[in-house]
C-alpha cells in the first residue's frame, strides 16, 4: 500500500517536473464556459512516461498541436510544384509528395506498363530533371518533406539529395521522411519490385546512410495504413505493423547499426477507421507494445527509442461513393479518434476521394475538419482524456493481447527472429490470406445487412445522381511527360551515365557495399528511374506474387 502510493507520488512529481519544463501554446486551457481544466487526469504512468500508453509528451497538444500534413501530387512535376508553393504561401511547412503508379513501381513514363497511368494518381518522376522541377524555387533547408514511395525509395531519396546539393543545401540540413517500408508492400499494397531480402538490404543501406549523414531524416515510416485499407482488422493492422517495425530493427542491428542511433528516427503510420474506441485502443496499445519491446527485447536505452511516434490518415476505404458528402462526418469522427489516440500528425481525407483525386474545395474542407477538432472541441486541452475509462483501458489491453498472439506466431515461424518470421509469413502467404479473410468476412456482413453502412446498405434515399465536380487529370500530361523524358535522355552524357549504371550493378553484387553512393552517382548522371531499377534487377531479380485466394 505504502509502496503503491509512493510509486504514484513519484509518477505524479516526475510528470509535474516534465510538464513545468514544457513550452505551452498561448491559448486558454479552459472549456468554452470558462472552466479551467487540468493538463492530465487519472493515474500514472502519465503522458511522457514509460510505457507511453498515455502519450509520448508530458504536455501533449498543450505544447504543440499535431501537424496537419496534407498529401498532394498529380500531373507533371511542374503542376505539383505550383500546389507546393501554394501550401507554403498559406503557412504550411510540411510538403507531402504522392508519386504516380509508374514511379512507385520503378517504371519510366515511356514504358509500355505506364500507359494510362502517367501523372494520374500522383506526380511522375523519371529522372533528376523531374525532381528539379518538383522542388524548383523551394528552399529545401526550410521545409520538411515527406515522400510516399517504397520499392524505388533509395533512388528517389538520392534524387532529392542531388536536388538539394545542386541548390547549395547540404544533405545534413535536409529534414523529412521517406516511407521506404517494403514489408507492407508484399503484405498489402503490392508495390514491390525486388524480392524481400535484397529490398531489406536497400532499406538498411539507407538507414546506415542517414544515420551517418542525415541526422534530421526519417529513413523508414512503418506503415499499417495500407494493411488496414487492404481489409485487415484493427488488431491485425497493429500487429503486422509493429512486427514489421521489429523486423527492421533486427535487420538494422544485424547490419551493425546501434539501436539507439536509428530507433529514434523510426516513425509509424496508422489508419484511423470508423470504430471509435477500437481505434483509440489500437493507438494506445501501439505505444505500449513498442516501448516494452524496444527496451526489453532489443535493449534500447534512449527513451526516444522507446517512444512510438506516428502519423495518421483517416480511412480512405471507409469513404462511400454513395452520398459522398456523408464522408465529411466520417472523416471528422476518425480525426477525433486520432486526436484522442495521441497522433503526432494527421491527414484527413477529402469527401470525394471514393470517386477521384480530391478537388481543391474538398481538400480544404478536409483540412478545416481537423482544424475544427483541434481548435473547437477542447480535446487538445487534456492529454489522453479517455485514459482510465474502463472500456478504453480494456480495449487497449485487448488490442495488445491480440497483437502479442501474432508476434508469438511470427517468432515461432522465424525460430526466435521476428525478421525471419516476417519473411516466412510473406513466403507462405500468411499475411495476404489473413487480410483477405478479414476483408471478405466484413464484406459478407455488409451484404447480409449485419453491418450498416449509411447510404450503402441502409438509408439509401437521397443519393443525388448529379455529377459531382471531380478533379480530372488532363490526358495530355502523359505526352508531355514522355517528351520531357526524351529530351533528358538526349541531352545527357552517355558515357557518364553508362559508367554510373555499371557501378550500380557492381555495388549491388557485393552485399557489404552501401548502395547509396552508387545511386547518387547514377541519378546525378540523369539515369532514369527504370534504368537504375533495371541495373539493380540484374543482381536482385524481380518479385512476383503467387496468385493465391
Amino acid at each position: 500500500m505504502t509502496d503503491d502510493s509512493t510509486a504514484a507520488d513519484e509518477y505524479r512529481s516526475a510528470w509535474q517536473a516534465a510538464y513545468d519544463q514544457a513550452q505551452l501554446r498561448d491559448v486558454a486551457f479552459s472549456t468554452m464556459s470558462g472552466v479551467e481544466v487540468e493538463p492530465v487526469y487519472g493515474e500514472g504512468p502519465f503522458p511522457g512516461q514509460f510505457p507511453y500508453t498515455r502519450g509520448i509528451h508530458a504536455s501533449m497538444y498543450r505544447s504543440r498541436l499535431w501537424t496537419m500534413r496534407m498529401f498532394a501530387g498529380f500531373g507533371t512535376a511542374e503542376d505539383t510544384n505550383v500546389r507546393f508553393k501554394d501550401i507554403l504561401r498559406n503557412g504550411g511547412t510540411g510538403l507531402s509528395t504522392a508519386f504516380d503508379m509508374p514511379t512507385l513501381m520503378g517504371r519510366d513514363s515511356d514504358s509500355e506498363w505506364a500507359l494510362g497511368e502517367v501523372g494520374r494518381a500522383g506526380v511522375a518522376v523519371d529522372t533528376l530533371a523531374d525532381m528539379e522541377d518538383l522542388f524548383a524555387d523551394i528552399d529545401l533547408a526550410g521545409v520538411s518533406t515527406s515522400m510516399t514511395i517504397n520499392g524505388p525509395a533509395p533512388i528517389v531519396m538520392a534524387m532529392y539529395i542531388a536536388v538539394a546539393e545542386k541548390t547549395g543545401v547540404e544533405r545534413a540540413a535536409l529534414s523529412g521522411t521517406i516511407q521506404n517500408d517494403i514489408f507492407k508492400e508484399y503484405q498489402a499494397q503490392k508495390e514491390y519490385i525486388f524480392p524481400p531480402r535484397p529490398s531489406v538490404r536497400l532499406i538498411t543501406d539507407l538507414m546506415s546512410f542517414t544515420a551517418a549523414e542525415m541526422p534530421r531524416w526519417h529513413p523508414v515510416s512503418v506503415s499499417g495504413y495500407h494493411i488496414r485499407e487492404a481489409g485487415s482488422t484493427a488488431a491485425q493492422e497493429l500487429a503486422f505493423t509493429l512486427a514489421n517495425g521489429f523486423a527492421y530493427v533486427e535487420a538494422a542491428i544485424a547490419a551493425g547499426i546501434d539501436v539507439d542511433t536509428f530507433a529514434p528516427r523510426l516513425s509509424f503510420f496508422f489508419n484511423a477507421h470508423s470504430d471509435f474506441f477500437e481505434e483509440i485502443g489500437k493507438f494506445r496499445a501501439a505505444r505500449r507494445i513498442w516501448a516494452r519491446w524496444m527496451r526489453d527485447r532489443y535493449g534500447a536505452k534512449d527513451p526516444k527509442s522507446h517512444m512510438l511516434r506516428f502519423h495518421t490518415q483517416t480511412a480512405g476505404v471507409s469513404l462511400t461513393a454513395q452520398q459522398p458528402r456523408n464522408n465529411i462526418a466520417r472523416v471528422a469522427l476518425q480525426a477525433l479518434a486520432a486526436a484522442l489516440g495521441g497522433t503526432q500528425s494527421l491527414h484527413t481525407d477529402s469527401y470525394d476521394e471514393a470517386l477521384a483525386l480530391p478537388t481543391e474545395e474538398a481538400a480544404r474542407i478536409a483540412l478545416r475538419t481537423q482544424q475544427i477538432v483541434a481548435h473547437e472541441t477542447g480535446v487538445a486541452n487534456v492529454a489522453d482524456p479517455l485514459g482510465g475509462a474502463p472500456y478504453v483501458e480494456w480495449m487497449t489491453d485487448e488490442m495488445e493481447r491480440q497483437a502479442e498472439e501474432v508476434f508469438a506466431h511470427l517468432d515461432h515461424l522465424g525460430d526466435g527472429s521476428i525478421l525471419e518470421g516476417v519473411y516466412a509469413g510473406i513466403e507462405d502467404g500468411y499475411f495476404v490470406s489473413e487480410i483477405a479473410e478479414a476483408s471478405y468476412r466484413f464484406q459478407r456482413e455488409v451484404n447480409a445487412g449485419q453491418r450498416i453502412i449509411v447510404g450503402v446498405n441502409a438509408y439509401t434515399d437521397g443519393d443525388d445522381d448529379a455529377e459531382h465536380n471531380l478533379l480530372r487529370i488532363d490526358p495530355a500530361v502523359e505526352d508531355l511527360q514522355r517528351k520531357r523524358l526524351a529530351t533528358v535522355k538526349q541531352d545527357r552524357d552517355d558515357t557518364a551515365f553508362q559508367a554510373a549504371l555499371a557501378r550500380v550493378r557492381t555495388d549491388a553484387a557485393d552485399p557489404n557495399v552501401n548502395m547509396m553512393p552508387a545511386l547518387l552517382d547514377a541519378v546525378g548522371a540523369y539515369a532514369t528511374l527504370e534504368e537504375v531499377v533495371g541495373a539493380l534487377e540484374t543482381v536482385f531479380g524481380r518479385y512476383t506474387e503467387r496468385p493465391v485466394i
Binding site: 505506364a114 500507359l115 497511368e117 485499407e229 462511400t320 461513393a321 471478405y440 451484404n447 455529377e467 496468385p547
Partner: protein, 135 residues
C-alpha cells in the same frame, strides 16, 4: 438439366496494386457457383487473352482503381476482338459517371461500381454471358 458452369477470368491490368476488390469479387462469384480463374496483379491484355483461350473462359472481369479505365478497358476489348474472341468484358472499380457511356460504346459489357452486392455481381456476369451467347 443444370446450367453449364460459367468460367470467368479475373485480372488487374497494368501497375495498379489495389487487389482487395478483386479478391472479394473472386470469393463472391465462387460462392455463387461461378468458376473463377484468378490471374491477379500486373497482367497485360495479351496475358489475359492467352488465359481466356487456355481456360475457355465465358467472361473476363477487370478491376480498375487508378483512373486508367479509359485507356485499359477499351484496349482489352480490342485485344479480344483482334484474337477473334467473343467474350464479354466486365469492369469494376471507381468509374466516374461521365465515363460510363464512353466505356459502353467501346464495347464493355457491364460496369460495377463500389457497393455492388454479391447478388448484383453474380447477376451481371450471368447477364453478360447470356447476352454475348445470344448475339
Amino acid at each position: 438439366m443444370p446450367e453449364p458452369q460459367i468460367r470467368i477470368v479475373l485480372a488487374k491490368l497494368g501497375l495498379d496494386g489495389h487487389d482487395r476488390g478483386l479478391r472479394v469479387v473472386t470469393r463472391m462469384l465462387r460462392d455463387a457457383g461461378i468458376e473463377v480463374i484468378y490471374l491477379g496483379l500486373r497482367q497485360t491484355t495479351d496475358m489475359v487473352v492467352a488465359a481466356a483461350i487456355q481456360e475457355d473462359a465465358d467472361a473476363i472481369g477487370l478491376s480498375l482503381h487508378n483512373a486508367s479505365h479509359m485507356t485499359l478497358a477499351p484496349r482489352m476489348v480490342q485485344a479480344l476482338r483482334d484474337a477473334d474472341l467473343d467474350i464479354p468484358v466486365i469492369i469494376g472499380g471507381i468509374i466516374p459517371d461521365h465515363d460510363l457511356q464512353p466505356l459502353r460504346d467501346a464495347g464493355v459489357a457491364a460496369i460495377l461500381g463500389p457497393g455492388a452486392s454479391a447478388a448484383e455481381v453474380a447477376q451481371a456476369v450471368r447477364s453478360a454471358v447470356a447476352g454475348s451467347a445470344a448475339v
